[in-house]
């Protein structure tokens, strides 16, 4: 009986709304826990990273200034819609690569959290990730009201403080959970009107590539999110020293990578937020609150006379 050969997917980078291969031509092999090859994904180089940052920078004015908060919220909600459509494929990608057994994943917040994450099924992870995107979509047109305010100064002035995006944010995903952590780190940045360059999980780069496919069909303007599958050791130093990255958002990274990224704050006063240890990603109270947007905004205070 002839069996049908499937058309196996080529996994590429997602930069500026398109799917290029790495300019270096390099790839990384992703295998099953038994060592069976699944795919070769593009291995981003320093140049890819720099181009991604340029794309993110170029996309910033349209995303942050010309797009209304409502429209951003709708686009983020559409990301959730597209993820829902790709549920099976995302769960399959998580399942086929299997859990991270390298032991190099950074320590968790609590034993209970660690246990819960260890027993997180691929389907459950995808559901949590979709709901997490829905949650942060709903912040895009609200965080200004919760984080901003009117200041009662002692004079005839109307003064208010409102949050603006820090700008281009580098998102650094831990090894695991590859999908849930990446959306948990990335979506608050987008809800706050930043643009992103994300380093996908090293343990499961397939997820990074698939998320790129989700974004490409979600009405996200090109360059607003860029996802690089890569060897983190090569690229964290570039992020740290890059002078056109405004913020860094990561969690559950190795102490070495965290240290390198923190040093980036000294380079051009980047706003660096790396949660160590990582939160319990399955815990909504920990992972779904305006505290996730706050480090990714700048507060602008405006004064105007209220007396002529």
């Amino acid at each position: 009986m002839p069996t049908r050969l499937d058309t196996s997917k080529t996994f590429k980078l997602f930069v500026n709304g398109a799917f290029p291969r790495s300019e270096s031509g390099r790839t990384m092999l992703v295998s099953t826990p038994k060592g069976e090859p699944i795919a070769h994904v593009a291995k981003a180089s320093r140049k890819d990273l720099r181009e991604a940052v340029e794309a993110a920078r170029a996309a910033l004015p349209k995303w942050a200034e010309e797009t209304t908060a409502y429209n951003r919220a709708q686009i983020l909600y559409r990301i959730a819609e597209m993820m829902e459509g790709k549920r099976a494929e995302l769960a399959d990608a998580i399942a086929s690569v299997g859990p991270d057994l390298s032991g190099t994943t950074a320590p968790r917040a609590s034993k209970a959290g660690a246990k819960k994450q260890a027993t997180l099924t691929p389907d459950a992870e995808v559901e949590l990730a979709i709901d997490r995107v829905v949650h942060f979509a709903g912040w895009a047109d609200k965080h200004a009201q919760v984080l901003g305010c009117c200041n009662p100064v002692a004079g005839p002035f109307y003064t208010f403080t409102s949050p603006e995006p820090v700008g281009v944010v580098a998102v650094v995903s831990p090894r695991s959970p590859s999908l849930l952590a990446l959306v948990s780190l990335m979506t608050p940045a987008l809800a706050a009107a930043n643009t992103c360059v994300a380093l996908a999980s090293e343990h499961n780069p397939l997820i990074g590539a698939l998320l790129g496919e989700v974004l490409a069909t979600s009405d996200v303007p090109p360059g607003v999110v860029n996802i690089l599958t890569c060897d983190h050791a090569e690229l964290v130093q570039i992020i740290a020293s890059h002078r056109d990255i405004d913020g860094v958002h990561g969690a559950g990274l190795s102490p070495q990578h965290a240290a390198i990224l923190h040093a980036g704050a000294a380079e051009n006063v980047k706003r660096v937020t790396i949660q160590t240890p990582a939160p319990d990603w399955t815990n909504a109270a920990q992972c779904e609150n305006p505290g996730w947007l706050e480090p990714l905004v700048e507060f602008k205070t405006i004064w105007h006379p209220a007396s002529s």
Binding site: V134, H135, A140, K142, Y158, H304, P305, S307
Partner: protein
């Protein structure tokens, strides 16, 4: 100053909205997730009130559908359905409530054209407005409030927000679907359930919204919609199974509702009154200073009073013009108004549609007659327009030489009639602007920023539009001072009316 050429509009070819919208011949009440026939009148009572009444298209006076009239038994059933559904709705994880509301928003977006056409047919407002203003805001209200459902604790730091329970919501005929959205979205986001009574003359879009709720799988009983007249509303407000009343409509009826709720306490029925929010009438001042961008201001003034035929609670119906620019403003108003198109609301070129009912048209005409008899000068710049033989029509007009004591300067007309007064100093403008029992909105036109904020601080109005007017957004709290009501709708502050707060 350049001389303005009077009159003369371009003759545009008719551009009727051509999509046909299906309307059933008869609608029942939407209770517990399905449409049900009204309960029969009890035999002991005479059959004075019929089971159904008719809703008309005010532009053609043709009947659109038969609408059920809710009697106390129907009100009972609706409230009971809301009561039964409330604990289940509140017990859902907040995020699931959010996702229900997001679904509703998305479905409204998809059916927006159909809803806009239906709104125009039932209400009389131009398709340009229902399509480009009302419907986008309707979808946006559901979308915005969907996102609050799982974030309420951040709107009330340090407090624990809980649902109130069953909310009775009574809405007017001027923005039928938009008012339904303003009421239902926050109520549901905060874990409440709803019994909504749309206005007698405009039930169709609320009933279509009910179809959408059923279509997207909103749990039964979370929103119930009963149709009827003022007696239905009164039954609903007084129903013991209701925990909160939200009303948008006239100040007169709002006061009656407040009295009903107070009587329930006085008679010992309840220890404290039902929660209440009111959004009532207005006679909003629109102030134009000599240092305003006059052309922009005139555009804003026109929109402020003739948008939706002036049938707007926050309409800028009292124009205060600084004396030095009075002749120029009057000339520009006349010039601009001459090109307003009054006519078939379904025509995409129409600016001003039909007045909602014969009763409302009579009211407006009564005030126009009063304005003249009390000594103000009537300007009717729209000279040539084809008034259809059927339908309720009032061409936009304004009065100059209006004094603060004139009836048309004090009472809400709710039609396309602007009263123009003048002032010399800013202090005079402020005093005259505030000289009203109302306090819903106000408009200020001046290019000087410090004057904007100084005047805004001194006006007793819940919404102050500066160098703009009639701007609405689900993220922006809307509501009045004084007899224009209390409570806010929209924004973080709008949630307060739909939660109980405890420590």
């Amino acid at each position: 100053m350049t001389t303005l050429r009077k009159g003369g509009t371009f003759n545009l070819a008719p551009a009727p909205e051509s999509i046909k919208v299906e309307i059933k011949p008869r609608y029942g009440h939407f209770i517990s997730g399905e449409f049900v026939e009204p309960r029969k009148a009890s035999r002991s009572k005479s059959s004075a009130a019929p089971d159904y009444f008719t809703t008309l298209n005010p532009a053609t006076e043709r009947p659109l559908a038969e609408i059920a009239h809710a009697r106390p038994a129907d009100v009972d059933a609706a409230v009971a359905a809301a009561r039964a559904a409330q604990p289940l709705w509140a017990a859902l994880p907040a995020k699931e409530r959010a996702k229900h509301l997001f679904r509703i928003a998305r479905r409204i977006q998809e059916r927006a054209r159909e809803l806009a056409i239906l709104e125009t047919m039932d209400c009389g407002k131009p398709i340009k407005e229902s399509r480009d203003v009302d419907l986008p805001l309707v979808a946006a209200h559901f979308f915005y409030h969907a996102g609050w459902a799982d974030k309420l604790q951040y709107a009330f730091p340090g407090r624990t927000p809980r649902p109130i329970g069953v909310c009775a919501q009574i809405i007017p005929w001027n923005f039928p679907l938009m008012m339904a959205a303003w009421k239902i979205a926050p109520a549901l986001a905060c874990g409440n359930t709803v019994v909504l009574k749309p206005a007698e003359t405009t039930p169709l879009t609320a009933l279509r919204l009910a179809e959408i709720f059923a279509e997207v799988g909103l749990p039964k009983g979370v929103v119930n919609i009963i149709t009827g007249d003022g007696t239905t509303g009164a039954s609903l407000v007084a129903h013991p199974g209701v925990d909160k009343v939200a009303f948008t409509g006239s100040t007169e009826v709002g006061k009656r509702i407040a009295r009903t709720l107070a009587d329930e306490v006085a008679s010992g029925t309840r220890p404290s009154p039902k929660r209440l929010t009111l959004e009532l009438g207005g006679k909003s001042p629109h102030i134009i200073f000599e240092d305003a961008s006059i052309d922009q201001a005139v555009e804003g003034i026109i929109g402020g009073i003739f948008f939706n035929q002036g049938e707007v609670c926050c309409a800028g119906s009292r124009l205060f013009v600084q004396e030095s620019i009075l002749p120029e403003v009057i000339a520009k108003l006349e010039h601009r108004m001459a090109s307003l198109r009054v006519g078939d609301p379904l025509d995409k070129n129409t600016d001003v549609g039909a007045i909602n009912s014969a009763q409302q048209l009579e009211r407006i005409q009564h005030y126009i007659a009063l304005g003249e008899s009390e000594g103000a000068r009537l300007h009717q710049p729209i000279t040539s327009w084809n008034k259809p033989s059927k339908g309720h029509w009032c061409a936009p007009c304004f009065f100059s030489g209006v004094q603060p004591s004139h009836t048309i300067a004090r009472e809400e007309i709710f039609g396309p009639v602007l009263s123009v007064l003048s002032f010399r100093t800013p202090e005079e403008a402020i005093t005259r602007a505030n000289n009203t029992p109302y306090g819903l909105s106000a408009g200020i036109w001046t290019d000087k920023g410090s004057k904007v904020f100084e005047i805004a601080r001194k006006l007793k109005a819940g919404v102050v539009w500066c160098n703009t007017f009639n701007k609405f957004d689900p993220a922006s709290p809307f509501g009045g001072f004084k007899e224009s009501g209390f409570g806010r709708e929209g924004g973080m502050h709008g949630l307060r009316g739909y939660v109980e707060l405890t420590q």
